[in-house]
Amino acid sequence: MIEVKDIYKIYKLGDQEVHALDGVSITIRDGEMVSIMGPSGSGKSTLMAILGCLDIPTSGAYYIDGEEVEKMSEDQLANLRAHKIGFVFQQFNLLPRTSALENVMLPLQYDGLNTKLRIEKAKEALEIVGLAERMYHHPNQLSGGQQQRVAIARALVNEPAILLADEPTGNLDSRTGAEIIAMFQKLHKERHQTVVYVTHDSFTARHTERVIHLADGQVKREEIIADPLVAGVSHRPEDNNGYGKAVHVESKKKEKRA
């Protein structure tokens, strides 16, 4: 179980203080599938980094399975990242010039397991994401969706209690994105994997049981989805109506970039 209490993350920009997180409290129970949604700048990625122990909050308390994260040493944090948390990034973050198999083996390298066992576990993880037949391919020989699946396999290989994903579909087209979400839904359903992912897209968010809406570094509301959408089956509504304002803000931004 993850418990965050009154977390602040404050950056200093010159003499100005920016509150990326402004008193956030959330709880995520074991076996839950939750999405955190908000427009860009809402602090959702910052929150995710803190949940993944990749960053530390300016103040506030964070408990994983009852243990207080702030009180942990560097090495204890590393151990936590290795065994409790699997993290999936928007940019995949695979090592270049390194095969899918070896990328998946990366978290195991620091465990002192023998090579045979490590290869076995990595292969298993690649099978779960359906990439066993491409395990010797390098990242540049894989599509974006496949790279993200390798990254998910890497996050799963140590059988973490919590799978965290920061905009996992952000760099993918909608069809490939749906495949990734379907993967999370499958893991959740079949293995009771705790999954938390961040998205700016309300359609993607509604594939989970609970949506935490974040804006200006604060939790605005929590929404229970009684009947989550099914990835690859449910269709995105034409006008996105009823899914909140965030979608419009983001889509306008995308147009600008294009």
Partner: protein, 409 residues
């Protein structure tokens, strides 16, 4: 987390980045090889010069007139006299041999060509003080000397120039307009480190020279003059005594008081050697500077390669930390990586540098001299530079929080 795991992680990282690993090694190889080769060749050159001078015999003392351009503007220089030679021979103890020489530039003509050569008039004991070897024929004999015979011994280059490969023994040549017969040729001696080379001289009996060649330019106030007197001291211990005795005799001969400057230089080969070793010290320092520059250039090469990969590696470090690597694991990985590359490059560099030095030796340009200190200097500086620039950025990156390292641009 044991060491084997660390080594495995590091070697895996090196293997998956072959090009970067290769370039880093190359940078170190160039740095080390340049220093080893340069210092090896430089030290070899210095040693060969010193050896050659030492080979002339440290017992040799030479006396020659010093050109003096006094404040009076007279430009007068005292002349070394044949009489001085006789006085030294008669009065100085601890001498093995004394040989007077008069040298002049004169025209030499054979049937086909005419050119200037350095003509030295010497006594038959000349070879006691100068280590020339006769390749063909014989040297000037006592009989030649006493009878003012018109005979000449040629340096190897002179013989080649004048007779163009024909056997010179018994052939005639004209010095000024006086006909001489060639009785001997010196063996090739090579350049002798700034001393007049034996390959380009013509030797005649001093008596013949005074009588028929040198004329009035070899006379001063009616007395025969000399260019140089070579003295071979009986032993290295008597050299200093011989020098001071000669100076005393020269003063009395030329009626000089002790307060006046001696217009002659009386110096031993040992002194020349001392000067030369100062020169060679300067040379070594100069070579050291060149080596330092090549090490610097090599070091910058190493540094560049390693710093260029910092961005990518910072993100790699962020990722490794994100999936559970401890800071110590990261540092040990980079330490092993850079150590492997630096030592590999250092070893190859020592071999390549030695090979270059050996090529110099084989081709006969210079006998290179590679010593352990040169190898150690080159190796350890390169390894140190490699380690520093490989480890420092990794150390910095490992201090970042994973999310900061991952976002590093």
């Amino acid at each position: 987390m044991n060491l084997m795991v660390n080594i495995r992680v590091a070697l895996r990282a090196l293997r998956s980045n072959m090009l970067r690993s290769f370039l880093t090694v190359l940078g170190i190889v160039i740095g080390v090889a340049a220093v080893v080769a340069l210092l090896g060749v430089g030290r070899g050159a210095t040693a060969s010069i010193t050896d050659r001078v030492a080979g002339m015999g440290s017992n040799l003392v030479s006396i020659s007139a010093q050109m003096r351009f006094g404040p009076g503007g007279s430009g007068s220089s005292a002349s070394l006299l044949f009489e001085d030679y006789e006085m030294i021979q008669a009065n100085v103890d601890g001498i093995a041999s004394v040989s007077p020489i008069y040298t002049s530039q004169l025209t030499v003509s054979s049937s086909t060509r005419t050119s200037y050569y350095s003509i030295s008039g010497v006594t038959p004991n000349y070879l006691d003080v100068r280590s020339y070897e006769i390749a063909q024929g014989r040297f000037i004999s006592e009989e030649d000397y006493l009878a003012n015979k018109q005979v000449a011994v040629l340096g190897s280059t002179v013989a080649e120039d004048i007779f163009e490969g024909l056997n010179p023994i018994g052939r005639k040549l004209k010095i000024k307009s006086v006909e001489f017969t060639v009785i001997g040729v010196f063996a090739e001696s090579g350049s002798s480190g700034g001393m007049s080379s034996g390959d380009e001289i013509i030797i005649v009996p001093l008596s013949t020279g005074y009588a028929k060649l040198f004329g009035s330019s070899a006379m001063s106030n009616g007395q025969q003059t000399l260019s140089t007197i070579y003295i071979s001291a009986a032993s290295a211990e008597t050299v200093d005594q011989v020098i001071s005795d000669c100076e005393l005799i020269l003063r009395s001969d030329h009626a000089l008081t002790l307060s006046e400057d001696l217009p002659f230089s009386v110096s031993s080969q040992a002194q020349a050697l001392e000067t030369l070793s100062e020169v060679s010290g300067t040379l070594t320092a100069f070579l050291g500077a060149i080596a330092a520059i090549s090490l610097l250039v090599g070091g910058i090469g190493i540094m560049n390669i390693e710093l260029v990969s910092v961005t990518e590696r910072t993100r790699e470090i962020g990722l490794r930390k994100a999936v559970g690597a401890t800071r110590k694991a990261i540092l040990v990985q980079f330490l092993i990586e850079t150590l492997t590359l630096a030592i590999l490059g250092g070893v190859i560099g020592v071999f390549v540098g030695s090979l270059i030095a050996l090529i110099f030796t084989w081709t006969g340009i210079i006998t290179a001299k590679i010593t352990f200190d040169v190898i150690a200097l080159a190796f350890f500086s390169a390894v140190f530079i490699g380690l520093f620039f490989g480890l420092y950025p990794a150390y910095q990156a490992s201090k970042l929080r994973p999310i900061e390292a991952l976002r590093y641009k």
